[in-house]
């Protein structure tokens, strides 16, 4: 019986892995459909809402970074929004200083924020646990102090790029193809979609496999020859780069950034929302960013105090920890499975 068993599988040839696009769809159908819906519907909304959704998409990029760190290498980043400020600062500085195309600014912001993310991760490369959380929290708080006193580059000279005296503050130029608000929303969403696609590709590459082994346990990862430090370093870089992209997109949306909107509590909030959303899924970034940016705006438009959102988030976090360990993404997945099984039953 054993002999035939081995023979059978030998004859069946090599392992047949579904194609990348097929796997991407299978694993991320919800995320892809949501992105498609956003891109088709949002441009028809009033300008205010288009801007709200644009900034949601920018935050979603940062949220993806936070989700990667939490879910893949077990690190708590409390600087998700802070790292957006880094990306925004770099994007603005390069835009005003060199006047390069928007895409180049975006790339530089991604690499710059990625490098700073990796630097912040250095103490976390060896150790698990609290150290990285503390480092990122202190970084976010320190950064807030800096950007709210020095401000973001707005066309001035010198390292800080601030205008002085009666000089007029300059805006960051949007990409040539996306000057209007609705074009810029579509542009932002496409960039974020591309970033998510890349993230998925990385998850399916050797780096993603190494993270999965680290999650399974240090011992088994080491026994499989995983270079733990290199693997963690890549995650920190990716998370920083994603935040950087988000920050640069945010800067392009508004044209200028205000340091006061980057206090450390915002990063803390984003982390909590990513947990509520269910960071095992790429969709968590969209859900978290929706809760972070769109939900309070909705409450506001209904005349409900935006701070109520905080209380709701607090309850949701407790609910997620106690009852829904797979987060909102998990509950949505269960719901869609339930609906499709109902439909399947009706068809028969």
């Amino acid at each position: 019986m054993t002999a035939t068993h081995i023979q059978d599988v030998t004859q069946s040839g090599g392992p047949t892995q579904p194609g990348f696009v097929k796997r991407m769809w299978r694993d991320n159908a919800g995320t892809i459909i949501t992105l498609g819906l956003l891109i088709t519907i949002v441009p028809f909304l009033p300008v205010y809402w288009i801007r709200v959704f644009t900034s949601m998409m920018a935050v979603a990029a940062a949220a993806q970074g936070v989700a990667i760190l939490h879910e893949r290498i077990g690190h708590v980043s409390l600087a998700g929004i802070g790292m957006m400020a880094v990306g925004g600062w770099i994007g603005l500085r390069v835009a005003h200083g060199l006047g390069l195309p928007f895409e180049i600014n975006l790339l530089v912001a991604a690499i710059g924020a990625g490098a700073i993310g990796a630097l912040l991760g250095l103490p976390g490369i060896r150790h698990k646990g609290l150290i990285f959380a503390l480092v990122t929290l202190m970084f976010a708080a320190g950064l807030h102090v800096v950007v709210s006193s020095v401000g973001f580059p707005d066309g001035g000279s010198g390292f800080w790029g601030r205008v002085s005296g009666s000089q007029e503050r300059a805006f960051m130029a949007r990409p040539a193809v996306a000057q209007s608000d609705h074009a810029y929303f579509i542009y932002t969403t496409l960039i974020v979609t591309l970033a998510f696609g890349l993230t998925y590709a990385i998850l399916k590459s050797s780096a993603g496999r190494a993270w999965a082994m680290i999650r399974a346990g240090d011992a088994v990862a080491k026994s499989a020859g995983v270079n733990m430090k290199a693997a963690r370093f890549k995650a920190f870089f990716l998370a920083g780069a994603l935040s950087g992209i988000g920050g640069c997109l945010m800067a392009g949306s508004i044209g200028q950034l205000d340091g006061r909107s980057f206090d450390a509590l915002q990063s803390l909030l984003l982390y909590g929302l990513v947990i509520v959303a269910g960071p095992w899924s790429l969709a968590a970034a969209l859900i978290a960013a929706f809760l972070y940016r769109v939900f309070p705006a909705l409450l506001d438009s209904w005349g409900v105090d935006g701070d109520i959102a905080m209380i709701i988030f607090g309850i949701a976090l407790i609910h997620a920890i106690v009852n829904a360990p797979r987060g909102i993404a998990g509950q949505l997945q269960d719901l869609s499975a339930l609906i499709s099984s109902k439909f399947g039953g009706a068809a028969r």
Binding site: P15, A216, G225
Partner: protein, 239 residues
Amino acid sequence: MIELKDITVSFGGVKPISGLTVTMGGRIQGLIGPNGAGKTTLLNVLSGFVTPVSGSITLFGENFGPVRAEARLENGITRSFQTPQVAADLTAADNIRVSFDSLGLSRADAHTQLTEVLALTGLTAQAEVMAGALDGYSLRMVEIARCLAAKPRLIMLDEPAAGLAADERARLMTLLKRLPDMGAQVLIIDHDFDLIGDLCDQVAVLDFGKLVASGPTQETLANPKVRAAYLGEDEEDAA
């Protein structure tokens, strides 16, 4: 070929292995001993997870004392775990690909070798199944496949037959018997004298972190000291 000289392991004063000197050169080398004898600890020493306070580790004539755990795989030293350790959210194939990643194989080479290793371990049909959804036997096979992917010189298995049904056990044994001819020395921990007797040409017996006996399998298993260690009989009575 495993040569250990005067190995002592200390966990805060407790010494699960003390002054162990043994040469384990069997093509399929058994390692047996009662629970708590130090077998798993010895595997941890050989795979670089536990650094002994004294002694030397020589594998295939090379000193492995200073070789980090992460670097053992690329040196052909591989292992499984007493409770199977896999990444539950990776497919069986991806769990095995990790070894190719570590060795820096090209895509094409990795694909060819993956095909071979899957066939050898009978995992071809389950290649794309998430490891979290696999049964116990398949998990053992994924672990073994991950080791074999590195074309190992040594494959160390910590109670791989535990919890397997009779037919699964038979399949495991068939596979293990093929490995020496493929260039891998097998070190297997098990409690079952029948399995060890059938599989191993050499066996080493540990008790309380010390060597009780070592040598050709039948001779060693018949040793009264070994039976005493296992059956808890008083040594002098047995002898």
